[in-house]
């Protein structure tokens, strides 16, 4: 639990002819983390690899273009129906035909979409001409007359233009479309300069696209053309929905076959490409990698293959495969998002499984919120909500972590005697004499201060002790004593300072005599260990240990702020209910507690995580390991050949 799975480095040697077969077997075993072989010449991709990757690429492009439809069909098609590889091979032609049919349907669909858009924009332009109420026949190419169509800022009339142009050798048509003034002006070519200048002044912008329409449809009234275009549009739309329906029906019938074919191709292609990682000589192949120690038997059973374990050397760090019980698994994500543990390091997932939810509960601490959170997480509502927000696969992990945290929230809610901020649990449940801790009162705050600082000190000791262990294993006992031992002494000194001076100061009592002297002694001896170990520069970090300890008082502070918010909303809500405004009061209570719960999920979550990452991990955890990723693939849609 505290250590990643133990690994063995292995070497497989066999005759080159059997390479493909051996790789296929290993692929199905999924226990070997392949390492790139260094030393001899490396192999080339196996025969047929190009053909398979081409097939795979074209299939994937079809699948990605169909992603929307596949999601739709997939949700209707559970459970998955698995297909054997033999069946896929037998029906490969058929499947390829289906895929090429889908491809041509997609092409047709794209084409229809683009004509649909073209026609729509044509209709739009024709509507502009319709508003001018002129036939398209007038837009000829004349020898002496020019014309312009466009949008003007203000409405223009003929009289105005006449006086401005000092001429009546023009004609205008005006209209109104889509909130804009439309103008078409026909004028003698000699006038063109003054017309342009004038139109500029009125903020005229020409609609160039209109001329495409007038060139295309040379005669008739715009309304007539619009009518016939709309008929066409209707047909195109029908065609598009027919195509969509055909695509959907093909997918409904064949989706699992297509997905299985993709998986089949992928399985083949990884084997065909793998020789790039394998060493070869004239007759043999050499394959190197890491295997979890308990799976080593499955590899050694390969027939006619020379199999041997290799001693670990210093340059080769084994990959990390974390091994934790199902309940703790989600907490691995918190560790991995910091960094993957190195093979020789302690895997802190199980420690975080204890402390993260504990801190979370200490902060949120309310039976009402805890139960609500328990319902939201165990029913999967929170998970699907997070999925909608785009958290993807981490939604499940977050939801599970919060599920564990909600249990602690309920426990501490009992300790604090809080139910949605109301202190009513004491009337219903039995309490021992030292409980509840009333965190809104002065005494409760002092108690919590002491509790949180103590938790902090214990957490830091645990971190440094594990750091000592890691250092001792990786760099020897001497180094560990100098570095982590020095820090342990300093932490002890700070502990004396906190208990002997700071806590009495806060609670207003007398400090413990002699603690200052002990503090100075411990700090000096700790610094001496650091300096003599060549780590003098680390002395500047000494005050950070004190700030680390005091940082844990956030467990109290965040909790009080969330409790105060709950109490304030209760007072506001109950206040308005008592003064006769039940609806407003109910709304205040409902929205107030929803906001506080939302804040309560984010705030304690981040602060609890911060205490792990900043205060705890920095004492022992380095990370930077490689994740164990075995050669092979997850079989979701296919059954491998026997």
């Amino acid at each position: 639990m505290l250590r990643p799975k133990s690994m063995e480095r292995v070497l497989l040697v066999g005759s080159k002819e059997r390479l493909e077969e051996v790789l296929e077997t290993i692929r199905e075993l999924r226990v070997l983390h392949l390492e790139e072989f260094t030393g001899t010449e490396k192999g080339k991709p196996l025969e047929g690899s190009e053909e398979i990757s081409e097939k795979l690429i074209s299939l994937r492009s079809v699948l990605s273009r169909l992603s929307e439809e596949i999601r739709q069909v997939y949700s209707e098609l559970n459970p998955i129906h698995k297909i054997t590889e033999e069946e896929i091979e037998k029906k490969e032609k058929e499947i390829l035909n289906i895929i090429s049919r889908l491809q041509s349907l997609l092409e047709e669909r794209d084409k229809t979409k683009s004509t649909l858009n073209d026609k729509k924009s044509e209709i739009n332009l024709l509507r502009i001409l319709e508003s001018l109420d002129i036939r398209l026949d007038v837009f000829h190419e004349y020898e002496t007359i020019d014309y312009k169509v466009g949008v003007t800022q203000t409405e223009l009339n003929e009289e105005m233009l006449k006086s401005e142009l000092n001429s009546d050798e023009f004609e205008i048509f005006t209209g109104f479309h889509d909130g804009k003034n439309i103008l078409a002006i026909f004028y003698r070519k000699e006038l063109s300069k003054s017309v342009e200048r004038l139109l500029d002044r009125f903020g005229f912008s020409e609609l160039e696209e209109i001329y495409k329409i007038t060139k295309k449809y040379r005669s008739g009234h715009p309304s007539e053309i619009i009518n016939s275009l709309e008929m066409e549009l209707h047909e195109i739309k029908e065609n598009a929905s027919r195509l969509e329906a055909e695509i959907l029906s093909i997918l409904k019938e064949n989706l699992f076959r297509i997905l299985a074919y993709e998986e089949y191709l992928k399985a083949k292609s990884i084997v065909k490409e793998a020789p790039l990682w394998v060493g070869v000589t004239k007759e043999t192949f050499l394959l190197e990698g890491w295997v979890p120690s308990d799976s080593i038997d499955s590899l050694s059973s390969l027939k006619d293959i020379f199999f041997t374990k290799i001693e670990e050397d210093e340059n080769s760090e084994p990959p990390t495969l974390l091994e934790n019980p199902q309940l703790i698994k989600p907490f691995e994500a918190l560790v991995n998002s910091y960094s993957v543990p190195r093979y020789h390091e302690i895997d802190p997932s199980s420690l975080i499984f204890v402390t993260f939810p504990l801190f979370y509960g200490l902060m949120l601490g309310d039976v009402g919120y805890g139960m609500l959170l328990l319902i939201l997480t165990s029913s999967g509502i929170l998970k699907s909500f997070l999925e909608k927000l785009g958290f993807g696969s981490s939604s499940r992990v977050i939801s599970k972590i919060l599920l564990v945290s909600s249990v602690w929230t309920i426990i501490f809610g009992y300790v604090y005697n809080e139910f949605f901020g109301f202190e009513i649990l004491r009337n219903i449940l039995p309490y021992p004499s030292f409980l509840p801790v009333h965190r809104l009162g002065k005494e409760g705050i002092k108690e919590l201060f002491l509790i949180t600082v103590t938790i902090g000190i214990a957490h830091l000791y645990l971190g440094l002790i594990m750091g000592f262990r890691n250092k001792a294993i990786e760099e020897g006992l001497r180094k560990a004593i100098h570095e982590k031992g020095g820090w342990l002494l300093i932490l002890t000194g700070m502990t004396v300072l906190v208990y002997g001076l700071i806590l009495p100061m806060v609670t207003g009592s007398q400090g413990i005599s002699g603690s200052m002297e002990l503090f100075v002694l411990l700090i000096i001896s700790g610094s001496f260990l650091l300096v003599s170990g060549g780590l003098g520069i680390e002395i500047v970090e000494i005050p950070s240990i004190l700030s680390n300890i005091l940082s844990y008082t956030r467990l109290m502070a965040i909790g009080i702020s969330s409790a105060v918010i709950a109490v304030s909303f209760n007072e506001m809500g109950i206040g308005s209910i008592l003064s006769g405004n039940e609806i407003l009061g109910g709304l205040i209570l409902l929205s107030g507690h929803s906001i506080n719960l939302a804040l309560g999920i984010i705030g304690p979550g981040l602060h609890s995580l911060r205490l792990q990452y900043v205060e705890f991990f920095t004492k022992f955890y380095l990370g930077g390991g490689r994740r164990f990723s075995p050669f092979g693939l997850e079989r979701k849609y296919t059954i491998p050949r026997r």
Binding site: S337, I502, S551, R554, L606, L609, R610, Y613, V614
Partner: protein, 72 residues
């Protein structure tokens, strides 16, 4: 109007919390902006970004302790 000793203590406590909060905010503003920028480039920097962003938070906790010392 005269301010008593208790009054000065309360003002002192409020200043301790308020000013340290402001200071932490100013410090975190720039770190946070840079951390979000880095995270946008590479998502796996989340943990490191978080750590760097919350470092100045401790200032507030010092303020809190001073305030608690002033108002026992």
């Amino acid at each position: 109007m005269e301010v008593g000793v208790e009054g000065y203590k309360a003002i002192g406590a409020a200043l301790a919390i308020g000013l340290t909060g402001l200071a932490a905010g100013i410090a975190e503003k720039e770190i946070g902006a840079a951390a979000v920028g880095a995270m946008a480039e590479e998502e796996r920097l989340f943990a490191k970004g978080l750590i760097l962003t919350v470092i100045p938070e401790t200032i507030v906790i010092f303020g809190l302790i001073i305030a608690m010392r002033l108002l026992p």
